[in-house]
């Protein structure tokens, strides 16, 4: 199963095995990672699963769709070039080893 590492704003690291097809938002909620809220349930409707993707992986991710782009403008923490919404990134074997950092605040 592909692995993803979440690094909380306070530095805590969570290494999680995430089934293919599950989103980074779901992986965080189900494994005790607290820096993701995921309030809308994964419909790209709340910007509370904002995360920063490790530079090495940015180009391997699917492109940012219009709805995600608009929601990324609504994040509480600063939007950066590597900002994504965790609900819009689904795990694939190609993303094995992915590292993401979480902002201080989501809402």
């Amino acid at each position: 199963m592909p692995k993803v590492t979440y690094i909380e704003h306070d530095g805590r690291r969570f290494e999680v095995d995430l089934p293919e097809g599950w989103s980074l938002m779901q992986g965080a909620l189900l494994n005790g990672v607290t820096g993701i809220e995921g309030e809308c349930g994964g419909s790209c409707g709340c910007a509370t699963c904002h995360l920063y993707v490790d530079e090495a992986f940015v180009d391997r991710l699917p492109e940012i769709a219009e709805a995600e782009d608009e929601m990324l403008d609504c994040t509480v923490a600063q939007r950066e070039a590597n900002s994504r919404l965790g609900c819009q990134i689904k795990m694939t074997p190609d993303l094995d080893g992915l590292v993401v950092r979480l902002p201080e605040e989501q809402s």
Binding site: L30, C40, G41, S43, C44, G45, A67, E70, C74, K90
Partner: protein, 387 residues
Amino acid sequence: MFRFDPYSPANDADPFDAYKTLRDEYPAFWCEEAGMWVYSRYDDIIAALNDWQTYSSAKGNLVDELPNRAGATLGTTDPPRHDRLRALIQKAMTKRALDVIVEPTRGMCKKHLDALDGRKSFDFVAEYSSKVTVDLLFDLFAMPESGRQTVRDNAVLMVQTDPVTRQKGPEHIGAYEWMAKYANELIAERKKAPGEDLLSNFITAEIDGESLADREIQMTVTTLIMAGVESLSGFLSMMAYNLAEQHDARRALVADPSLIPDAIEESLRFNTSAQRFRRCLTRDVENHGQIMKEGDFIMLVYGSGNRDERRFANPDVFDIARKPRGHLGFGGGVHACLGGALARVATKIAFEEFLGRYPEFERVGETTKWVPSSNFRSPMKLDLAAA
């Protein structure tokens, strides 16, 4: 021989033993009564919600779909059309956008509590949850003053199913047709004189320079009214039902109202009103040793996934300290409830006000009359007695 009958009044009253049998012994179960497969484990439901390409909503999402609705609403279309339609409404339904409803909602709650005039017993559904919900939805959609009760009565009727014939009866279809006609009249008015409200924005919207199809507008508006009016009051009533049973939890909320949001999440997990929705397979799928064919329907039992001990420890215990992240109370994935943020805000305010007036209450009578529905679970009537 185990049977699972989502139409029986016994299931409306308490589906949880049957859910446990489904999860433990028949995780991919063929339900003859509904003529579809049933997924009851958390992980299977999440996997289906994530994979809309395989588990399509385009053939309808209600266990018993209403005629002529599938393919024309948010809940019954797949991406990419779904995402474009949803984007037209989504922005008005975020937590921040809903700040504007906080004070009006509080005023509505106070008004209906004032009307109870300190009475010690009342029907929570008829006298509080449905009244607050209807006021809020009419305000949000800028709908005309008249006919509030009729809209509410039809919204509640159209989500029901007949426990004997195991389908929608003529009265349910009639209520749906009434609502569709009501929606059409509203749409005609808004087209002539659009306002700033959520419905006007949707009705006049364009996607890639093209207006939405008439049926799309009519069915979406019909569904938004139904979903708003029925589901919000249904959930408020379930929350009151839980708090009437769970005295320690209720007293904790009275002592510290900042815990109400945690209680709402646990209530969504423990007793969501959105119990069961369906999807349709776009290809053959094998799961838990069963081969399911393209075109077969699958019932996703959110109410069971929320009680799955594989995901939530001691799932049958109502624990407001649990913080049940990832629960299925609003479904999940691309079709996660559009009104989730609205429901959370409204429920928080409704209970801040209610518990302020009625810190101690319990249910009157042994039995509760439940809404007969293959999808939803909420009390028709909830008689409470205050201490």
